[in-house]
């Protein structure tokens, strides 16, 4: 599974990086990040691009999510 590290990146970098991997046809992604804003934005992107999101880690200042194409 491809891992995307968006820790410490400000908007909209986390979304751009995740979308780039999606556009390259990734079926499964592991995205790792820090801020709540980036988490919300990646979740929104996943929903709009037809990926199912599962939060593996869901802390206040660190999170990890698995994205699986539906």
């Amino acid at each position: 599974m491809e891992k995307i590290d968006v820790r410490g990146l400000s908007c909209p970098m986390p979304v751009i990086r995740t979308k780039k991997a999606m556009d390259q046809g990734a079926q499964e992604l592991l995205v790792v990040g820090t801020s709540q804003v980036s988490k919300e934005n990646v979740l929104k992107l996943a929903a709009s691009q037809g990926y199912q999101a599962e939060l593996v880690v869901n802390g206040k200042d660190n999170w990890e999510m698995k994205l699986i194409r539906q």
């Binding site: 410490g8 400000s10 970098m13 206040k60 200042d61």
Partner: protein, 356 residues
């Protein structure tokens, strides 16, 4: 439409309405809120520039910062972080202010001006959209100012709020301990700086909008950016809400006067209205947020955003001391040169900060 979208639309309506009410209660016309103008007024109150007509410690700014700080603390989101090209961001703040003062307003005031019938603001909006689109071009190319890191101490995030709290204390206390010069704070006796809603109301208005903006992540440049980048209209709805909220109350209060000429605190030099907000849109997109968003992020402990806020204060001082800032008469030649230089510098930063 889901709940989040309704919330940001309603939040926008409230912010627009509050802005119109602030004008009714004494703020300058079409300037219920203006992050750039108000920070410029604060720079003037501190004596950083000598434009006597724009000096006042705007309680709205202090309220916005504290509204965002208190909200983020309750939400568990207050956390000191920074270290992403901080000095670069400081100078970008300087240029963002120069652009805003060439246009005469930040993107938030641009919306409020449009809601007051000022067609020059529509020209500004076109420039702003073009600026954001240019920023998106750099983002797609791999632009990145680097990662920020969480700090092991939260002190850093409290410094800017404490500084603004000190200014509020001086404003309320009214002490003069530099009688010869009239300081520590300077206040306009005429002009926009002398027009203000009562302190308590301005402060509470700032707190409410700070809360709303923190929760919704409201951002003017972000709205256009997300629409171009991923066709997401969430932040754009906040924009539309502000416009409608202010428009409705402006009509009720009789403030709505459509046209290009004789608009309050505005000029009709189309090319500079366009390029002023072009510079702001480009800079804001590279920074990750408009002047309002930078202020809100500062309240959440983002010290890179705080560097932008301080950069904007310094940029305001440059703008007025070096005759960059526009007035109703138009944009001085030096302001035109500074605006072009700003665009070139932002293009240079956008082009070179590319991550492979």
């Amino acid at each position: 439409m889901d709940r989040g979208k309704w919330f940001i639309l309603i939040a926008g309506l409230c912010i627009g309405a509050i802005a119109a009410v602030l004008v009714k209660l004494g703020n300058p016309p079409n300037m219920g809120f203006c992050i750039a103008c108000f920070q410029r007024d604060i720079a003037g109150a501190l004596g950083l520039h000598r434009a006597g007509v724009v000096q006042y410690v705007r309680p709205e700014i202090i309220g916005l910062l504290f509204g965002a700080m208190i909200t983020s603390m309750f939400a568990g989101e207050f956390k000191t972080r920074g270290g992403s090209s901080t000095l670069v961001r400081f100078f970008m703040g300087v240029f963002m202010m120069i652009g805003a003062l060439v246009f005469l307003g930040c993107p938030l005031r641009d919306v409020l001006r449009m809601a007051g019938g000022d067609y020059n603001a529509v020209v500004g909006l076109l420039g702003f959209i073009a600026g954001v689109a240019t920023g998106v071009f750099f983002l797609r190319r791999g632009f990145n100012l680097g990662r920020a890191e969480y700090s092991h101490s939260n002190v850093g995030g409290l410094l800017l709020p404490l500084f603004f709290a000190f200014l509020l204390f001086l404003l309320l206390k009214g002490t003069v301990f530099n009688p010869e010069a009239g300081g520590p704070l300077f206040f306009s006796k005429e002009g926009p700086g002398s027009m203000a809603a009562p302190v308590a109301i301005s402060l509470v208005a700032g707190l409410i909008v700070g809360f709303l903006a923190q929760r919704t992540r409201l951002c003017m440049s972000g709205g256009i950016r997300d629409f171009i980048l991923i066709r997401d209209n969430y932040l754009l709805l906040g924009f539309i809400g502000i416009f409608l909220g202010a428009l409705i109350l402006n009509i009720v209060f009789g403030f709505f006067k459509p046209g290009f000429n004789d608009q309050p605190i505005a000029h009709t030099m189309h090319i500079w209205n366009f390029l002023g907000l072009y510079l702001v849109g480009l800079t804001a997109t590279l920074l990750g947020g408009c002047p309002l968003r930078q202020l809100i992020l500062s309240g959440e402990g983002d010290i890179d955003a705080a560097a932008v806020v301080v950069g904007m204060l310094v940029g305001a001082a440059f703008s007025h001391n070096f005759l960059f800032a526009a007035s109703a008469a138009g944009v001085p030649t030096y302001g035109q040169i500074a605006c072009i230089i700003g665009i070139l510098v932002m293009g240079w930063i956008g082009w070179s900060y590319r991550e492979a």
